[in-house]
Amino acid sequence: MRKIIAFLFVLPFFGLAQNNSGEIHGDFDLSLQTYNEDESIGALAADEVILNNAYFNLLYTKGKFTVGVRYESYLNALKDFDPRYNGNGIPYRFAQYNNDGLEITAGSFYEQFGSGLILRSYEEKTLGIDNAMDGIRLRYSPISGVYLKTFIGRERKFFEYSKGIVRGADGEVNINDILKLTTKTKAILGGSVVSRFQNATNPNFNIPENVSAFAGRMNIISGGLNWYSEYACKINDPIGSLTENNYANGSAITSNLTYSQKGIGISLEAHRVDNMVFRADRDAVGKDLLLNYIPSISKQHAYTLVSLYPYATQPNGEAGFQIDLFYKLEKGNWIGGKYGTKLDVNFSRINALNGGPSYLSDDINHEPMLVSLKGEALYYQDFNVEITRKINRKVKIVVVLAKQSYNKDVVQQQTGYGIIESDIAVLDLTYKIKKGHSIRVELQELKTEQDDGDWSMGLAEYTISPHWFFAIQDLYNWGNKNPDKQLHYFNADVGYIKGANRFTIGYGKKREGIFCVGGVCKTVPSSNGLTLSISSSF
């Protein structure tokens, strides 16, 4: 295997003899942090004093041929990353060839079938998620409007690979293209199958060695309307315990309907998930070796206090919906103001399945109700309004108001906290001092009677285009019922950006919390120290 890779790397040199039209590109990222002991916030020092993550991506393309390599280094990994990211090496390397519509990839690759409900192999570096597949993948479009993909491989787990072998196939058909229709309405249909093979030698149970999941999707587009639906199901996937196994099937259904025209956009989304965790290794737990991706049906917030209690999808069972309204109030009148005002309204609500999820039920034929919103345990609710308005040539403001309910027991797998109700307000003001110089001020407030109580946050950011930014911020837990815990989390950052190079240095305290992207979360321990980050693309 190694010889083949070495050969693939040598191949480009033969091309050099003929014409040197190959290209090398890449990107680089280094994050370094020092950890000091800070008893007040519960921050622990690091024995190594400095912890750092780094990676270096290198891509070579020549005509239809591409080769890529990534070197990753964790010596040792930052505290908010999984400590199994340890050491350094090349966990990602691939060779790809594109020939008359047939694309062949050998080595590491990322892939998504449909919306990811059945398969999504992706990377999210800030979360430490990288479940690239390692194997062979083929993508082919035999005629215009038909797209086929198949692959076989093992999934990445830190610097190793899963025990299970995963294979999958996906087909998508654009009905209008193949039938040569020119109607206003378009339809796209798709179907996927993914299966895992893993040896089982369980003396107490009959564990299936091949476990499959199937999915079907459709997308109908007509003018400003867009309707997407996907259904996925997984056939018996017991974990292989000696004492207790769940043979129930799993299923998930997601649907979204959006309408947009000039000045207004509406989005309605709903999903219902039941026992749909699918992994490349039946023994894995937590975030290890996940094969599919079920995003949380709540808004991804950008402001700190609005995302203090972020929701994570409960793949074992939940039902939820979300409504978004994007509206532009026309300029000219007192509501819209001189330049127009943008209004974004969002509401989402997720609760438990009626009767509980399949995996907890002793009855294998238990099927939780398809839709049941009233009276079920609330997991999360979020109602928020974001108003963006340019006041005059120098001033722009953004105001966010939110009301959230967060079931800490369920989302963080704890007991005794209950549902945390919070009200949040944010004011974000940008003032242009002169050409190229501007200052941005953020004031945020969170009020709650539970958990840690009220929080305030203040941020001031001074930017000098095109190279510099300076920021200071403070997060203050003034409402904590325990006077010893009424802490300040103060931070200062300086950054220099030139073209595709970015350098930032920061110093301060970080709050212990949860950081989520897309509904997948990681816990971040509290820390006190210096942060240095360097990134570049070439």
């Binding site: 290209e23 991506n57 591409t66 797209y147 959006t258 956009g265 994007f326 974004d344 950006i497 595709a500």
Partner: protein, 165 residues
């Protein structure tokens, strides 16, 4: 492990010194349009005028700021230089369906595409957003910039103007 590192270093050293860097072209990969069709990014066309490609996401504040600020002067830019701005959203399934409604309510006149699993991002070295590229009339990438602060659009416009001189 050592062999892998050695191979990597050999590739790095020899290829860096062996090849003359030609201007970078757009890779041959497909992104999605807002109507669900596949679109090969190398087929982007602006009839010999410059193209700006900006990677953004609906949850990225500076990205939205950049694209909003440029939309205020976009007409002037187009008249002066013929430039076209292509906005590529990296929103994944969680927020991908909201891209079209968001754009329409923002009155953006850009060409918009979707790259939900970051396939195009990986080929262009985009790891964070916003990340903006400038292509000349021959569709070669001649300049790129990470991040956005108020006023960066002026630097971008200066670079565009240099191309059409």
């Amino acid at each position: 492990m050592r062999k892998q590192i050695l191979t990597f270093l050999v590739v790095l050293l020899t290829t860096t010194f062996s090849f003359s860097q030609n201007a970078r072209e757009l890779p041959n990969i497909e992104v999605k349009t807002l109507k669900g069709d596949a679109f090969n990014i190398s087929e982007l066309n602006n009839d010999g005028s410059p193209i700006v490609i900006s990677f953004w996401a609906t949850w990225c504040k500076p990205c939205k700021k950049e694209l909003n600020n440029i939309s205020e002067v976009y007409e002037d830019w187009q008249e002066g230089t013929g430039v076209k701005l292509v906005a590529i959203s990296i929103d994944d399934t969680r927020s991908m369906s909201k891209v079209a409604p968001y754009i329409n309510s923002s009155d953006w006149e850009y060409e918009v595409y979707l790259d939900p699993n970051k396939d195009l991002c990986r080929l262009l070295g985009v790891s964070t957003v916003p990340h903006t590229f400038l292509l000349n009339g021959k569709k070669e990438i001649v300049w790129q910039h990470r991040g956005y602060v108020e006023g960066d659009e002026d630097e971008l416009y200066n670079k565009i103007v240099e191309l059409v001189k």
